[in-house]
Symmetry: C2
Subunit: 261 residues, 2 copies
DNA sequence: AACCATTGGTTCATATAATGACCCATATAT
DNA sequence: ATATATGGGTCATTATATGAACCAATGGTT
């Protein structure tokens, strides 16, 4: 991994859950030496991508990112392309849908279309969800580079609920199953009462870059609704991939033939 | 300059005016070897900060930036803090105001509050303005590190209008004057008929990080309106600096005593 | 008040990773 | 057909990144 890569990892560490952090903590999280971490932070700071609070000495993301995001969005408006499709999926299923991108060791929620129902799953833009116990995460892992999967399964994983699967070999099976049928299911493995169904979205290299998911109160899941949602999610994943100029993995196409239970 | 710094320079090259670019062009603009540039782009791409169009092979800013900007904005909402003050300055002067951050060799427009008048100056968020012939640019240069000024003046500069000053020694004088009174004036030096009055905004290290400016049709500029706007801009610059947790340069405070013409 | 465990920050000999001249295939002008 | 772009890749040389050890300062604990 190049020096530049290592420096950029620091940016990935920041999230809504951890919007600012100290030098030692960042070094620990990234697994770098303190001196190295500090040099990286200074370089990032030179360009306005991080700033340091003069009081607390903590580092946070910098204002220059707003400019870049603005250029990106006015130039290549992902939101404009994806949101209508996400809304369509929401209307079709009647349930909350969301689009997320893989970011470091988690999925970052980029867009949400909430269900109109009173009893619905609700989440927030920017939320970061763990890979191993969410439908989106499993769907992404199923088409992610093998090395990424290995690295994730090597570490000890945290169970979010009593339904969470944290055994590496069992997780391998789940990932394998998702790869088989192009769809991942997470039944209350991230939060009790919440059922997730997700499919990967691909970039132009046929690499999974993110995922779309439908999140449902578990009470509304029946064999019928499940089948219906799976079919809708599968189709929407293809549509969004296409809208973003991506190319689905070869194997993903063949999933159409698989009986979606 | 460290390797990481050099890689990050590539991100700064992208703008609304140049939202995507090829390998050779980027290498040329940054002054790097093609191989080096390519390695940087790949590293940036690994983290989603740039992407490559598979057709044209051109590179553009990546989607991961949206996540970072989102975290930054929900965590440390600059817009929420600055926009009200910018609106206040607009209301006070009746003219279009904007806030910009220094980014590479230009000022990047971050926020705008447009004048309600029919005959008004109009600009766009994200626009990048040259340093040497805009009020914002001069205001920033006046309190920027000496090395930055030297580097800028070393290169040949482009005249935007027949009023643009491009002679290094004359520009030095303009910058010096701006440093004296904390205010920079640009009379039709970027665009004919447009008059700009700007003051720097400082970060927590008392370094100029950006500027606010009032842009006026030159027809409405009289000694009186000019004096009034200068006073308002000066005060707003202090307010915004404070709102952002910044600390004005020592010299900037003393400008209050200077007669603003 | 002495103690230990943190923190942010710094130094410098060593080892590792960055560099760029050179090469290739392809595409678009002349 | 020749010249000059382009994106991409290789590899010996060299410059840069690295991290153990080191401060000074802060904040609990005993």
């Amino acid at each position: 991994m190049s020096t530049v890569d290592r420096a950029l990892v620091l940016l990935d560490l920041f999230s809504e859950a951890m919007p600012e952090s100290g030098l030692s903590e960042l070094a620990r999280l990234a697994g770098y030496d303190k001196a190295t971490t500090r040099r990286f932070l200074i370089s990032l700071g030179n360009h306005g991508y991080v700033e340091q609070d003069p009081e607390t000495k903590k580092y946070r993301l910098g204002a220059a990112l707003l400019r870049l995001a603005h250029v990106r969005e006015t130039t290549f408006p992902v939101t404009d392309l994806v949101l209508p499709l996400l809304n369509g999926l929401r209307d079709e299923t009647g349930e909350t849908t969301h689009f997320s991108l893989a970011a470091g060791n988690s999925m970052a929620t980029m867009m949400i279309a909430e269900s109109p129902r009173a009893n619905r799953v609700s989440l927030e833009t920017g939320e970061r969800l763990p890979l191993h116990c969410t439908a989106s995460g499993i769907a992404w892992l199923a088409f992610a580079p093998e090395k990424t999967v290995q690295r994730l399964l090597a570490k000890p994983l945290k169970a979010q609920t009593k339904h969470s699967e944290i055994d590496p070999t069992r997780l391998r099976e789940l990932i394998g199953a998702a790869r088989e049928c192009g769809i991942a299911v997470a039944d209350q493995s991230y939060e009790d009462e919440v059922h997730g169904i997700a499919a990967p979205v691909f970039d132009h290299n046929a690499q999974a870059s993110g995922a779309i998911a439908v999140a449902t109160p578990v009470s509304r899941i029946t064999p019928e609704t499940s089948r219906q949602i799976k079919a809708a999610v599968y189709k929407a994943a293809l549509d969004i991939t296409k809208a973003l100029g991506g190319l689905p993995d070869r194997g993903f196409y063949e999933c159409q033939k698989v009986d979606l239970q």
